[in-house]
Point group: C2
Chain length 326, copies 2
């Protein structure tokens, strides 16, 4: 794959610095979902690890390079999963980790960031405000700012999922990828387009947080005024130009889904796959639910990218219907 900021050889090299506990995650067909979705469905499960999301693939790359370079501290803004992952990767390597998050972030994520020994600073605003504050801390303290999706290590880490998909899956037609900042989509998309170019790369974002999808459609950065979705992990408003450029090269489509479809996807994954997932991880199933005809008879892989939820909110989302089949 030419043109993106990513490089397949560097992605292969990234695998070697990532703790194996985050690699070679389960990839399996889930037939119980199929009658309801009308297509063959495989799950790539990124939740069965110490931070319950794929983000540590990237922070392992970041932290190992920082530690090699003798750095002592690092800061990032996070909706919660990147922060947990950076806290984990930094702790292993003796790095002093600061995470800036919105005070409206998922409480379970914030609790885990603290429990992993990171310094947590909350801002009274959204994720974009947290990004500004993290950048200010980095300038003040002269330490590395990790910017999710912009920093190439975060994309390379996510891209290792792509290597596992093309290396071990029976042939599949489509990969459905949650779209937020774009590290997961551009990383996996790069590898898929480089090594299995016949596979369709479809990014999925909530209607309530459509900035990157609109940007992809218009071919230029579109900033939205607000982000309103339960899918906290993908609720950005300000796409990064360099990431959009990559996404334009690797995505075959970017679709928007309703909140009800995300909840229906979470419910289906609970009932028929036995999986607790956070909203962002149900985006792929939501996309199929909203357009069954498009996927009919095809083999889709959906990346279940995280499972960090506040249990109360989760029960509300999967709802009373949880008691009566889906």
């Amino acid at each position: 794959m030419r043109g993106t900021r990513l490089d397949t050889a560097r992605i292969r090299a990234a695998r070697r610095v990532i703790d194996p506990v985050f690699l070679d995650t389960p990839l399996y067909r889930c037939e119980a979902l199929e009658p309801r979705l009308g297509c063959t469905v495989s799950i790539k499960l990124e939740t069965a690890n110490p931070v319950r999301s794929f983000k540590a693939r990237g922070t392992e790359v970041v932290a190992s390079r920082l530690a090699e370079g003798g750095a002592a501290a690092v800061v990032c803004a996070s909706a919660g999963n990147l922060g947990q992952a950076l806290a984990w990767s930094g702790r292993v390597r003796g790095l002093d980790v600061t995470v800036v998050a919105s005070r409206f972030a998922t409480v379970a994520k914030l609790d885990r960031i603290r429990a992993l020994g990171a310094r947590l600073e909350l801002v009274d605003g959204d994720h974009e405000m947290a990004r500004e504050r993290a950048a200010a801390i980095a300038r003040r303290d002269g330490i590395r700012l990790v910017e999710d999706s912009l920093d190439i290590e975060t994309c390379e880490g996510a891209a290792t999922i792509g290597l596992e998909l093309v290396g071990t899956a029976p042939s599949f037609d489509t990969v459905l990828i949650a779209l937020g900042g774009g590290a997961l989509a551009t990383g996996v998309g790069h590898v898929v387009k480089a090594l299995a170019p016949g596979v369709e790369v479809i990014c999925v974002q909530p209607l309530g947080a459509p900035a990157m999808t609109r940007s992809w459609r218009e071919g230029r950065v579109v900033i939205t005024d607000s982000a309103d979705t339960i899918a906290d992990g993908v609720a950005g408003r300000c796409p990064v130009p360099a990431v959009l450029d990559d996404l334009l090269l690797v995505a075959d489509d970017a679709v928007l889904v309703r909140e009800e479809s995300i909840m229906a996807g979470m419910r289906m994954l609970l009932h028929h796959a036995g999986l607790v997932v956070e909203p962002s991880a149900a985006l792929g199933i939501a996309a199929v639910l909203e357009d069954r005809g498009r996927f009919a008879g095809r083999h889709v892989v959906t990346i279940v990218c995280g499972s960090n939820v506040d249990v109360d909110a989760y029960h509300r989302w999967v709802g009373a219907a949880a008691l009566h089949g889906s």
Copy 2:
């Protein structure tokens, strides 16, 4: 390890006939559980595969040997997970699979057995009656009867989990194993005692279905009149003598836990690990909850052996407390 019916070289060979989708399952530390349990906890997750339990490790060995030998059909009795796994393994190899189960078995398990193309026959009694009926079918049709835990392939398949534990875990002190018929306990126990003899092997069974534990304690087969537990996967009454003999060689202890502890374990795994598990898979956590002092400061691995639940029952078990933290 000398003396058991198992052989480590044969277990290594078994790995080669098991579909990789069932092997090399996640093994990771779950720190969020630790403050509540007072020990270091690692999870070996056997649910992220097409049948949502470890049983396919064994049925893959059975079915591949049957197919090699030219067999066309096979029958087993099952509480549900073995039947699903045999249906899956048999379907791949063109075997005609019959599963006999109690009509009181978990509906989700029975549905999956049918969906996987097996013939399902229900008996109006418990698992022991299903075993008798399966044996009668095997005699009548002249086909192979798969007897869980008695048939060495089922133990060898389960034992491959042991190879993964001793091969990849940071050193741990104790492995907690759900005890039912005994395939999992004798299989994993054999490998652990052979390759990591310092690790303690503790089997866990419900107080309401204590036949094998009592047998282990008395050193002779003890048959119980009834089995009354939500942990349907381990609810046998009639231990197999040869399996008991093996268990006597590999288990350091066998403990019984209350139903409330099993439900508390399921709730903890949901809230703090994001895992939906069936009751049998929470036995290890239940054992720690009932005797925190025994495990204080130790590193325990618990095998999360299955996640096939009826969603309604699951919600009852994890209960209203699910809405208010654990």
